[in-house]
Amino acid sequence: MKKKTSALWGIISGLLIASYAVFLLLDAFVIPRDIVKVEDIAPDNSLSYTSKVESAVSSAENSDLSEISDTVSSDQSGTVANEPVITENSYTDENISITITSDRRYDTDIYIADIIVKDPSYLKAGLAEGSFGRNVKQKTSEMAVEYGAVLAINGDYYGYRDRGYVMRNGYLYRDKARHDEIDDALAVFADGSMRVVKESEVSAEELKDSGAVQIFSFGPGLLSDGKFTVESGDEVKQSMNSNPRTAIGMVEPLHYVFVVSDGRTSKNIGLSLYELAWVMKDAGCTLAYNLDGGGSSTMWFCGRIVNNPTSHTYQPDERSVSDIVYIG
C-alpha cells in the first residue's frame, strides 16, 4: 500500500513539474502575450510623432543640421534626384543617401552602411507583425519589405525579455527598467540626436518628456562623445568574446552608421564588443550602441540580405526577431 502511494505521488508530482516546465518554456519562447497592435495606437501616436519631429526639424533649419541635410540632395554629382538612384551598394534620393561598404577585419566580414537623411523621421523602427508583444517575431527581411524600408537592420529583440525600455516611433510600449549589470539604453530624439543612458538612472517617461522618439534596450553603449565606453574583454552577460554583431551609431544628428558583422563560422570568427567599438569609431561615429547580435544580426538593403546570418545550427539562416531599425 505504501509502495503504491509513493509511486502514485511520484507520478503525479513528476507530471505536475513536467507540465509546469513545459509551460515555462512555452511562456519564454513561444506564447505571444502583452500584445499591443501598432494600428490601435497609430492615429494619436503618428500625430505626436510627426509634430515632435516637425518641431525639431524646424528648429534645426536655422542650425548646422540644415547643412548636413543639404548634402543629401546635392550628393551624386550634385544632381537633385526625384527618382531614387540605386546601385548594388548605394541608394540616393532627395531625402536619403545610403552607401554600404564591406570590410574584412579581425578575421570577419563587416558591412557598414553610411546614412545621411534629410530629416529625423527617415530613421524609423518597425515591429514584427505590426505589433508589440512578447514572442511576436518576424524575419528582418519580411519586416523591411512590409514597412517599405530601403535599409534595415535587426533591432534589440525586446520581445525576448520582460524588462527594458521599449519606445518606437514616439510611443512608449514598455517602461520597466532592466536590473542587469549592463542596462544601457539608446534614446533617439526628435531632432535626430542620440544618447546612451542607464535605465537605472533615467526613467522612460523622463526620456519621453525630453523628446525621445525611439528607445532601444540592449547595449552596451560602445562610444559616447567619441570615447570608448567598452573595454577589451567586456561582453553581453556571459557571452563568448566573438559573435556576429549589429550596431547603430551616429556621426552627428542626421548622419548615422549601421554596422553588421558575420560570425560563428570557420570563415568569420565574429567581433568582440571592443572590436565593434573600433569599427564604429573608424566609421566616424561619435556615439555607438550595440544591438542584438548572434543569430539575429541581419542587414537588408533594397531587396537583399547583405550579410550572412547564422542560426543556432551554424547554418546560413535568417532568424525571426521582434523588431527592426530602418531607413525609409
Binding site: K2, T5, S6, W9, G10, S13, G14, I17, A18, Y20, A21, F23, L24, L25, D27, A28, F29, Y160, R161, D162, V236, K237, Q238, S239, M240, N241, N243, R264, G294, H312
Partner: protein, 132 residues
C-alpha cells in the same frame, strides 16, 4: 536491518547517482550548443542532485535513518522541482531570456524540501533500519 528498507534506500541512492550523471551529460551537451554563453546553473546543474540527493542518501544510509514516507515524498519532489528550475534557468540564461513564473517552481521546490525535513523532524521519531 530490514532488507527491503535497505534495498529501497540503495535504490534511491542509485537513482540520484543516475540523475546526477544525466544532469552532467545534459549540461555538457547543452553547453556545447550555447555559442560559448556561460550559465552557472547549467554548468553546475549536476550539483543539485549530488548535494541534495546523493549526499543525503549516503548520510541516511550511514546513520541508518529511515524517514517517514510522506517526508521522503515531499523532499524528493522538492529536489526534482529545484533541479528542473535550475535547468530552465540555465536554458533561459543561455538564450538571454527569462520567465517571471520560474521563481514559483524554485519556491515550491524549497518549500517542499523544507516541508519534508520538517515532517521528518517533527512528526516521527528516529527509526533504525536495523532496529529490534
Amino acid at each position: 536491518m530490514s532488507t527491503s528498507d535497505k534495498k529501497r534506500a540503495v535504490a534511491r541512492l542509485i537513482i540520484y547517482i543516475g540523475v546526477t550523471a544525466l544532469c552532467a551529460v545534459f549540461s555538457t551537451v547543452y553547453n556545447g550548443f550555447s555559442h560559448g554563453v556561460f550559465s552557472f546553473c547549467m554548468t553546475y546543474l549536476f550539483l543539485f542532485p549530488l548535494l541534495l540527493g546523493v549526499l543525503p542518501s549516503i548520510i541516511l544510509l550511514a546513520v541508518k535513518y529511515r524517514p517517514l514516507p510522506l517526508a521522503g515524498n515531499l523532499y524528493h519532489t522538492g529536489v526534482g522541482a529545484l533541479i528542473v528550475s535550475a535547468c530552465l534557468r540555465g536554458v533561459f540564461e543561455i538564450a538571454k531570456t527569462s520567465s517571471d513564473h520560474r521563481i514559483w517552481l524554485s519556491a515550491a521546490g524549497i518549500a517542499l524540501i523544507a516541508a519534508g525535513v520538517a515532517v521528518s523532524v517533527f512528526c516521527r521519531k528516529k527509526k533504525n533500519y536495523g532496529g529490534n
